[in-house]
Subunit: 196 residues, 2 copies
């Protein structure tokens, strides 16, 4: 079955938008999704790319664009008070949750907490609470997070080596797409791979 | 009738892609398109934005992305040997062509020459040839082009003042969208404005 790797960072609003629909789109095309947390800040640094918000006119347009996408997809959307979101602890928790088979539900819960509910996902307490809500031992998960430091560095480096320069990044074998707005191309490619 | 202003520069491949479909999309939604040549280099300078090709990984992905879009839209696509394309003379010629009621056919002919046929559109001879093909006096048009210098500066400044940071830029009144990949949102907005 064609497998789409979905690289995301919780600080990336377009990753949140993609997270609300990537599984459905890939599944209906006959594929499956592998969730891959990575650190967008590391990707930008390694590639020399910049966040859209570093260009003021681009940042203003991004806010409008995000609202338009959220309306189209019918998903709640709140821009967090602190942006970029300090997401490193949440990402390490996600990798830790993966060891308990809970990466996907934990990921969705963190995205929702940040981008739908306006919670501060840099807080260990908030992350422990989210973890408990998906059936994990919250405090234990947060305590184990520092042990995932190297794993997060590795997934970030891997994405950069494979060509990523932003988030979300999607891979189907050697093929790469960047951006929530390229998910329809990803779906087409899964369909083509399925037929091939 | 809702009027979409389409700001474009011949050096912008995503403007070329948009030019192949913006009229059909806006027309079927019940609106009309006003063609607005502007200088992307001036927009980038004024806003502090950068061309995607300044980030190597982004530039490589852009080439793939353009090929994917051209395939989807069923339009020919050749990446020019010189990029960014020195487009200032062609843009001034377009503004001059506008005075003879030929802005739209001249624009399409220049986009095709550059992005479908691989011609050098910085050449006065090539531009004169293109102008003749759409019923203009070629040499006269090119000679008149320097007189459009201020007009091109003004349209560029206007786009920047209204929030543009890249190309293509679309406006429907106060609303702005940037990118060929937002044309479906533009179409929706025209439909909504038409119904309102």
């Amino acid at each position: 079955m064609p497998t789409v790797e979905f690289f995301y960072d919780f600080t990336s609003p377009y990753s949140y938008l993609a997270s609300t629909r990537v599984e459905e789109m890939v599944r209906r095309a006959g594929g499956e999704v592998r969730f891959r947390p990575f650190l967008l800040g590391g990707v930008l640094k390694a590639t020399g790319n910049r966040s859209p918000i570093e260009t003021p006119a681009k940042g203003r347009h991004m806010l409008k664009d995000l609202e338009r996408w959220a309306r189209r997809l019918g998903v709640p959307f709140i821009f967090p008070r602190t942006f970029p979101v300090p997401s490193i602890l949440a990402l390490r928790c996600a990798l830790s949750a993966d060891k308990h088979g809970k990466l996907v539900p934990f990921t969705h819960a963190v995205f929702r907490a940040c981008w739908a509910d306006g919670q501060d996902i840099s807080s260990p307490d908030a992350l422990a609470h989210i973890a408990r809500a998906v059936g994990l031992e919250g405090a234990a998960l947060v305590s184990a997070a520092p042990g995932e430091k190297e794993s997060l560095v590795r997934s970030t480096s891997e994405a950069v080596e494979r060509g990523a320069f932003g988030a979300p990044a999607f891979f189907l074998g050697q093929e790469m797409w960047i951006g929530n707005d390229r998910l329809d191309f990803v779906e087409e490619a899964v369909r083509a791979a399925r037929g091939a």
